[in-house]
């Protein structure tokens, strides 16, 4: 595969390689590892090497049937991986494609002697190098030995030495923990008290922390470095954090390439990173983070990640350089000049991409979904996803990125004031997700760039760019649309203003109507003036060589299109956008499969998406990739430019789904179910009357415009009720109220209820089972379907629920009715394509609570269990092909799949780890088993639970739950594990002849007589006596600080398994009871489950 080197390359290739995935998506470890793992598998397959993958994340592309030769949906930990090695006997192991999870597992496997025992060779970066980069003390020593500057620091193994170190270095100091992901357990301590708290928390989960010099106000710069075994080195790109040092790079707004570094700065740091990586001996890819002094020629090396990372996924998408693919080839022993550049096909991989555009990454947070969480940003990651925007102007890219976040921003500046002037200073000083918007507002209020720089430490050049946008907006405000000059309109577009944003900025007599009409007016005016965006290619070489690339973006800073529409007319698939709570890698699986299905049917495909951590944005996933916004404006631009014959809106989750109606109204052909019918399902009013017509039951609901109306409705139908305001001021969008008082406090404090912002109140049915239907229909006839059940009763968001498929405990009658209802709805809405219905059932009485005419989160799960690709069926149905239903039926299965949620509460300081009607999980896994208990146990082990050995702490809440748990408590008693219980639970169990050790709850001393020697629950956790907490709260919707909250939080902070749902707790105990020996958790590849 060499290019011009002429000599034949001989390498010692392994024959079978084991690849470790990263498991569920979590904060700090997200979709980027699906991209990197998939690329690695492709790179190995091309070499004829057999691949074995361990990854319990069933929604990923890398676990598709046609990628790895064997897939194990098992926890990525030494126990299971050893058994996979024993079975598969691989001779090679790739650790750098599955994030910190894979790396940690690899290090442990090595330390346990397992790799040596089975003669498995670690490919790529050697383990010793990994250990050096992971151990901060060792790392600092290495840096010093080669005269590289690093922050002054001391490694500490206890609190005392941490305090000493801080005195030596002087406050404020940075506290970091070794072996962590996403900066977990790190922060800035300004005094002894803060340090004590931080250090104790960190030392509870890791053996060592680092106390170091805090570089306030320094710039943060990163380099992505690639090295091969011949010692050739390149840096694929550098990136400059717009936020100064102190905010984790995953939490920072980042621009590539750097904008305010001179050639001296850029290449000095580049040379240092190369020298460092050569010294460390990395083979493959790694990331070097620097601090750069803003006023002096000084730098510090912050850290090296000797593996593919979130930044490397970003760098790969930002430059078009297939980093993960190349890294896999280098791990096999190839050199950089042996691997062709798969983008250009004509040049080598040994080069550094030249960008002729600028790229901005913005993190996507979802902190509003959590109760009690701290919203300030710092050295720990909290974001759940990210967006990447490309432009030929900084402002253009920045404004795109703001819109891509999907948080309601129309761009960098909005039409109205969002912040009070007196709050602005704090908003600038304390970084939160609002800060970038606060900068715009401060500029508009006349604050100087210098003042903002002093408060934020953000380099003035970036603040000036925001100012550019603010000034343009102020200029637009002077005109109405008709009098807006061509020059100003063009300038606005060059600065990244959307039509929508312009429509809101122009002067108008009457307030703007909701909907798309106003922005379409701007569009029409623009087209009249001939102001249109151009299409540009990302070719890695800034047009220096001709390159056939399909990686595209649009810009107003240009006059010529790089590509033109091609025949045959393509189909456009809309991707899912930023990963966030509720929309994640599962929609990427759907989008990628949609493109593949279209292509199998012989069509050309165009993908639109802007999430750098996805496979759908890989250059080889479709015929043309637009790294672009999923807005009406941009989708229309692309649709028109590509002469597309239709758009698929139903595989990318809610963002594309919401575009169905406006696109249809503008004459775009929307594939599948008719737009009017989508509207009938989306519009609550219309859907409700449709259900009434069909005789299908639904919970009572009403849309109301005052708190009084809401209260009287609730009184009529009876509490509890579910409240969904249309305008939320703070906190979660949905809530359950059990009383007038709760309803009032929620509606008054958190939401605005008025004629403009109605609230939907519906009857909340407690104690019901929740069931999901995933189906595909064609012309109203069901082609395929899957019925899964939730382990948790209704009330837990379906994204947080544990799902069992095929359903195991449903009455036949219930199943039959669900099928009947689902068929009726398909027929009534004349559905063609994917759809999902959520039901609740109590005593065979079934109500529909939700219906979406799009692929759901569980499509990959049910597709992979059934080994029937629902997206493939959906696409073929939408194309009008004759589609035969699958021959298999779920009833014939002698195995079961369990999908379990992954929570990231430990990363969200202060958040109450309770489940409720708002989704809180950041990812999911699914495991297979011969029975539900086996699959469930594997799934929980995959999301970080361990089998309890030390002690179990019980608090079982309400009396109904206490009774419900009684059987489980008996089982626990026989398991030979110490069982602790809090007072109420202890007393109840005692009455039922079950002995437990009583523990005090914090703030509840009154439950005990003075002088009682009962230990405190918090203390028991801190002492390491507990390794499982079952804490069933009395109420789900309490916001106040309770003793239960303190225990739950402590549990999460100590990385201990926590169950807060009674049904899940019962199933877990059942599983522990039935499966006494972990060897009963079978290590079987996916292929053998059929």
């Amino acid at each position: 595969m060499n290019l011009h080197t002429h000599d034949k390359v001989e390498i010692d290739k392994p024959s079978k390689v084991l690849i470790l995935g990263s498991g569920a998506l979590k904060i700090g470890e997200a979709g980027e590892f699906d991209y990197s793992g998939s690329q690695a598998i492709k790179a190995l397959r091309e070499e004829g090497i057999r691949t074995v993958l361990v990854n319990p994340n069933i929604a990923t592309i890398q676990t598709s049937e046609d990628l790895a030769d064997e897939v194990y949906f098992l926890p990525v930990n030494p126990h299971f991986v050893e058994r996979v090695i024993e079975r598969e006997r691989p001779d090679g192991l790739l650790l750098s494609f599955g994030g910190q999870t894979a790396l940690n597992c690899g290090v442990e496997l090595d330390e346990l002697g397992i790799l040596e025992k089975y003669n498995v060779r670690v490919l790529g970066t050697p383990l010793d190098t990994i250990r050096t980069t992971e151990d901060r003390h060792l790392f600092a020593e290495v840096l010093r030995s080669i005269n590289m500057d690093t922050p002054r620091s001391r490694a500490c193994e206890d609190l005392e030495s941490a305090l000493e170190a801080a005195e030596e270095i002087s406050f404020p100091v940075m506290v970091r923990s070794a072996f962590s992901l996403g900066g977990k357990g790190s922060g800035i301590a300004r005094n002894d008290k803060e340090l004590t708290e931080m250090a104790s928390n960190a030392l509870a989960t890791v053996p060592q922390i680092l106390v170091e010099e805090y570089l306030e106000g320094w710039k943060e710069v990163e380099y992505e470095v690639v090295r091969d075994a011949m010692n050739n080195c390149i840096t694929v790109c550098n990136m400059e954090n717009i936020d100064a040092l102190g905010i984790h790079t995953g939490e920072s707004i980042v621009v590539a390439p750097s904008q305010t570094l001179s050639d001296h700065d850029y290449h000095r740091l580049r040379s240092v990173s190369i020298r460092l990586i050569q010294h460390l001996g990395v083979v493959g890819e790694c990331n070097v983070q620097f601090a750069l002094h803003p006023h002096k020629d000084e730098y510090r090396i912050i850290e090296v990640n000797a593996r593919l990372s979130r930044s490397s996924a970003l760098a790969s998408k930002a430059t078009g350089y297939p980093l993960a693919f190349v890294a896999a080839k280098l791990a096999l022993g190839y050199s950089l000049i042996d691997v062709p550049n798969s983008i250009t096909q004509v040049t080598a991989s040994c080069f550094e991409p030249a960008l002729d555009y600028c790229v901005i990454k913005m993190p996507r947070w979802d902190l509003k979904k959590f109760r009690r969480v701290s919203t300030s940003l710092g050295s720990e990651m909290k974001s759940v996803g990210e967006v990447m925007a490309i432009g030929r102007g900084f402002e253009e890219a920045m404004q795109k990125a703001c819109r891509m976040l999907g948080v309601g921003a129309h761009g960098l500046v909005s039409a109205r004031d969002h912040f009070e002037e007196e709050n602005l200073e704090e908003l600038l000083v304390v970084p939160t997700e609002e800060r970038i918007f606060a900068i715009g507002e401060a500029l508009r209020k006349g604050w100087s760039v210098d003042r903002i720089h002093q408060l934020t430490h953000i380099t003035p050049w970036f603040i000036e760019r925001v100012g550019e946008v603010v000034r343009c907006q102020q200029e637009i405000r002077k005109f109405d649309l008709a009098s807006l000059s061509e020059e100003l309109l063009r300038r606005a577009k060059e600065l990244g203003f959307s039509d929508n944003q312009i429509s809101r900025a122009v002067r108008r007599e009457t307030p703007i109507e909701p909907g798309y009409a106003a922005s379409l007016e701007v569009r029409d005016r623009r087209e009249e003036l001939g102001i249109r965006p151009v299409v540009k290619q990302i070719d890695t070489l800034a047009a220096e060589y001709p390159a056939q690339t399909n990686f595209l973006y649009m810009t107003y800073n240009g006059s010529e299109d790089d590509v033109v529409a091609k025949d045959p007319a393509p189909y456009v698939v809309l991707g899912g956008g930023a990963y966030r709570i509720g929309s994640s890698v599962e929609f990427d699986w759907c989008a990628v499969n949609a493109v593949q299905a279209l292509s199998r049917s012989g069509h050309r495909t165009v993908m639109i998406n802007y999430n750098p951590e996805t496979v759908s944005t890989d250059y080889d996933s479709c015929d043309r990739l637009y790294f672009e916004e999923l807005t009406l404006e941009r989708v229309l631009d692309i649709f028109e430019r590509e002469n597309s014959q239709g758009v698929v809106i139903s595989v990318g989750g809610q963002i594309p789904n919401q575009l169905a109606v406006p696109l249809g109204n503008r004459g775009v052909k929307v594939l599948g179910t008719k737009v009017e019918d989508i509207d009938r399902a989306e519009n609550r009013e219309k859907f409700s009357s449709l259900l009434d017509d069909l005789g299908i039951d639904q919970p009572e609901w009403r849309e109301l415009t005052s708190v009084d109306d809401a209260r009287s409705f609730a009184e009529n139908c009876g509490y509890p009720v579910l409240i969904r305001p249309s305008y939320v001021l703070s906190g979660a969008a949905m809530s359950v109220a059990h009383s007038d008082a709760e309803m009032e406090s929620y509606l008054k404090a958190a939401a605005d209820v008025s004629r403009e912002h109605p609230v939907v109140v519906s009857k909340f049915i407690a104690g019901a089972k929740e069931i999901e239907w995933d189906g595909v229909a064609q012309d109203g006839k069901v082609i395929c379907y899957a019925i899964s059940e939730h382990v948790e009763n209704a009330g837990v968001h379906s994204g947080d629920a544990t799902m069992v498929f095929p359903s195991q405990r449903l009455y036949l009658e219930t199943s039959r009715r669900i099928k009947k209802i689902s068929r009726l709805i398909a027929e009534a809405l004349n559905i063609t394509g994917p759809y999902n219905i959520q039901f609740i059932a109590r005593d065979n009485h079934i109500k529909v609570i939700e219906c979406n005419l799009r692929a759901s989160r569980s499509f990959p799960f049910v597709s992979k269990i059934l080994k029937e690709n629902f997206i493939d069926y959906a696409i073929r149905s939408m194309l009008g092909e004759k589609v035969d239903p699958p021959a298999k039926s779920a009833f014939e299965f002698d195995f079961v799949g369990v999908k379990a949620p992954q929570f990231s509460f430990s990363r969200l300081k202060g958040a109450d780890p309770l489940l409720g009607v708002e989704m809180a999980s950041t990812g999911e896994v699914a495991c297979l088993g011969d029975q539900v208990e086996e699959a469930y146990l594997k799934a929980l082990l995959s999301v970080g639970f361990s089998i309890p050995e030390k002690g179990i702490l019980l608090t079982t809440g309400k009396i109904e739950d206490k009774v419900d748990f009684l059987e489980s408590a008996r089982k626990l008693q026989q398991l030979d594990i110490p069982v602790y219980a809090t007072k109420g639970t202890h007393d109840f169990l005692k009455e039922n002849d079950i002995e437990t050790r009583v523990l005090k709850m914090p703030m509840r001393d009154e439950e005990f007589e003075a002088g009682s020697d009962a230990m405190d629950a918090i203390e028991a956790i801190e002492k390491g006596l507990i390794d499982l907490v079952i804490n069933i709260p009395r109420s789900l919707e309490r916001n106040d600080l309770t003793s239960g909250y303190l225990v739950r939080r402590k549990t999460v902070d100590y990385g201990i398994g926590l169950l807060t749902n009674i049904q899940a707790a019962n199933l877990f105990v059942d599983a522990l009871w039935k499966i006494r020996d972990t060897d009963e958790l079978l290590v079987k590849p996916w292929r053998e489950y059929c």
């Binding site: 290019l3 011009h4 305010t260 700065d265 004509v346 040994c350 220096e544 800073n557």
Partner: protein, 386 residues
Amino acid sequence: MGDPTLNHHDTHPAVRDVASDSRSVKAILELEDGVRFEGKAFGALKSISGEVVFATGLVGYPESLTDPSYRGQLLTLTYPLAGNYGVPERDPNNPIQDGFESSRIQAQALIVQRLSQDYSHWKSSQSLSDWLASEGVPGIEGVDVRALTRHLRQFGTIKGRLLLEGSDNREQVLSEPCHDPGSYNVVAEVSCSEPILHSCGKDGAPRVVLVDCGAKTSIIRCLHARGADVLQVPWNHDFVAEKADAVLLSNGPGDPKMTGDTIEMVRRALAEDRPLMGICLGNQLLSLAAGFDTYKLDFGHRGQNQPCYEVGSRRCYVTSQNHGYAVDGEKAPAGWQEWYRNANDGSNEGVRHSSKPFFSVQFHPEANPGPRDAEGLFDLLLEFAR
């Protein structure tokens, strides 16, 4: 053709500065084949013509603009944002100041997509636009530089005019043929006029004679950093007669075959044993003197990201380059061999003598702008020199 000896930049008494004009000034870039780009002017308010070229580096506009290799050329930056980090203050007492490659802007004009009037960098004291104005160099922003680059790469180089509305010499530039740096010995224009000794300040330092065909000052800095004195001599100076431990043939603008006098002297140098190294144009001069041939590349190399590997090995360096001609490495004269090759297109990137300490490279080991991966070549030269 204009007067080749006229120095465009030294005297510009009548030239106004665009920034002093309150409204934006329209500028048009017109290529000789009729292709036009419209934009806004910045820098000096004057029209100009020359060869239109591009550079794909992400950073380093002060270095590129002062690189004598861009003499007579209108420089296009493919990275669309220019001026972000401003321009450092010029130190009049330091002729080899870091951040600049010669004493003044060498390019005829600058072509960019978006210009930043404000800048952020602790070393900078003026905006890119003000710097250009102060040196009498015009610029144009708002050009689709990617479209321009795609056009240029097909022609290698093409001449063009930058016409500024309201500039005094607009009509003159329009009526005259385009300035063509390839049509005369442009090296004479950028070379120093008499020998200059740059001492590194150390006793007993080896001395390198630097034949200045338009040398970048980084070459001097690189040699200084390694403890060598540099004697910079004019392109037509008899360097063979100079007392020195090694010879370095510098980079420079134009067609190598225009510098016949230098080639002749190199031939004489090759008859001796004194270490001799060539960079870029120096590589072509040395190769021609040794008996290699040169030819025009289909696609010139104009970036900071060019991979070059050592022939016979798999060691590869990322290098900074700016050239449209290459040495034909396949037909090596007796005693010579190909040394480096470009991993993208296989073209020759350096030659060396089989037994004598003569070697040269097409790329720029002195970097600035660009990666410093090949700086070790200066160590090699000094090893031979010592």
